[in-house]
Structure formats: C-alpha cells, structure tokens
C-alpha cells in the first residue's frame, strides 16, 4: 500500500465516523479535503447507500420456533465454572421463571 493509499484509507474512515456521529455531512467532509474530494466522494456515497438499504429480518415463525427451542435446551455442557468476568459462581442463581 502506497502512502497516498494509506492516507485515503485514514481520511475515509475519519469522514465515515464524522458522518455517523452527525458531526459532519458528506459535503462538509469533501469541502475539508479538496485534494482528495474526487476520490472520496464515490466511496462516501457508496457507504451511505449501503447503510440506507432496507432492513432484512428473519420470519416471525422462525424467531418463535428458535426461541422455544432455546428454552428447551439442556444446560451448557462446556463450562469453566466462572461467572463471565465476575469470578467463580458463589451460589446458585435463582430460577426466575418459577417465581413469575
């Protein structure tokens, strides 16, 4: 990768972050960097077009069936005996399902 290529990668990323955080628009980014604006413009437009693609979702039937299956799964067989980052398990966690 050439130095110019690396520079564009960094500028592109900086612009994408600014646009995502609503700190700038595409026009702002291009105006700030006139020397690379011609290269940058189609990349930013493509990124925005992808982000604007309508959401795809799984079917409700699949979601319901999978949820039911998860609730029937047996406890994990693989366990290292810890509570995530919370240290060793100190006592059984109450089964909240029974208390509802």
């Amino acid at each position: 990768m050439t130095e110019v290529g690396t520079m564009i990668e960094l500028i592109l990323d900086e612009c994408l972050e600014d646009i995502r955080a609503k700190r700038a628009t595409v026009a702002d980014c291009l105006a700030r960097r006139p020397n690379v604006a011609a290269d940058l413009a189609p990349l930013l437009e493509m990124a925005l077009a992808i982000a604007g693609v309508p959401e795809v979702r799984p079917s409700e039937e699949f979601k319901r069936a999978t949820r039911e299956r998860l609730l029937r799964l047996s406890p994990p067989t693989k366990s290292n005996g810890r509570m995530g980052d919370l240290g060793p398990r100190a006592s059984p966690v109450p089964d909240t399902k029974e208390r509802v």
């Binding site: 990349l43 493509m46 992808i50 693609v53 994990p76 810890r82 240290g87 398990r89 966690v93």
Partner: protein, 202 residues
Amino acid sequence: MNSSSVYFGVERRIHNSPGYMGRERRAMPWNPVRAGDEPTLIQYAIARNREAFARLYDRHVDKVFKYIYYLVGTKREAEELTGQVFGKAWQTIGDFRWAEQSFVAWLCGIARQAVTAHAPQAHDAPIGDEISASGLTADVLKRALARLAPDERQVVVLRFVEGFSVQQTAEVMGKSRKDVQTYQHRALTELGAIMSESPRQE
C-alpha cells in the same frame, strides 16, 4: 471492581426490591430477568438461566440474522445458521468476557465461524442496472457483496449494515484496525465499480 460483589449485587437488588416478601411467600413482582439490562441478563445466562438467555436472543436475533444473511446464499440458510449460532452461544456462554468485546460482537464472532463454509455464490452478471430509482435493495447488495473477497465482504456488513465501529469490526474479525480500514477502502472502491457496470435506471 470486586467481581464477586457485582454478582452479589444482583442478589442484593432482589432482596432490597420493594416487592420482595421473603422466600416463604414466593411473591416476586420485580423480576431481574424480565426487567434486566444486558449485563444482568448475561450474568443469569452464564448461570444457566434459560429465560435470561432467551431475552438476550430476543435482543440480538435480528442483528445476527442480518449479518449472516449478507454472507450466505438464502434467507432460509441464514435462519438455519442463526439458530445454530444461538445454540452454540448457549453452550459456550461461559467463555464470554466483557473486557474483550460487547455481547453482540461476541455473537457475530460465533456467526463468522459458522458462515465460513457457506460463502454465497458469486455471479458475474452486471447488476448496476438493477439499482432502482428508490436505491439499493438488500438482494442487489447481497449479490454485489458475493463478488468481494471474504474479508472485504465481512467489513462492509459489519461496518455499514450492522453499524459497528472500526474497533468492534476488528474484534469480531480478529484483525487490526488498520486491516479493517484497508478492507473498507478496497471494498467500497470495488462495490462502486460493480454497481456501475451498466447504467443506472433513473
């Protein structure tokens, strides 16, 4: 922070909650899983509480599905793999570490391994003229992505479909931030070329 105290904090919150009336009466209007924030749900899921895990599933299933959808052939295949990812997540949730990544990034990491053998079939037919006046559709995007290298495809989906940061994307992919920036630049350039293979219909 003392790790045990966090865990015991969950217990303390149960006992200090206004509706708690002691074990004998078993009345518990405040349910930590039902009302739980993500860290609480994860704690309970790690402790093998299925309801807590199902709540995490409710929160993240759409995101995991979306990620897989763009990386495999069909919606049906994506659903099947999504189910497998959550099954695997339940089995290995004890391995999850907060310090390393967010829960959804961890799930996407499992999904990434699951989709490796299910790369979408790339078609060489031009797709630029399929972009309608209303813009890019999921189907067209998916077919364009199929023509990218696997790492570039992953970066596009994680960054622009899922909205992950460069850091999160790097964590899911096991790459450096610099690698992600390079793939991102290359992928957007290539997608631009793919999309303009034939004139757009305005």
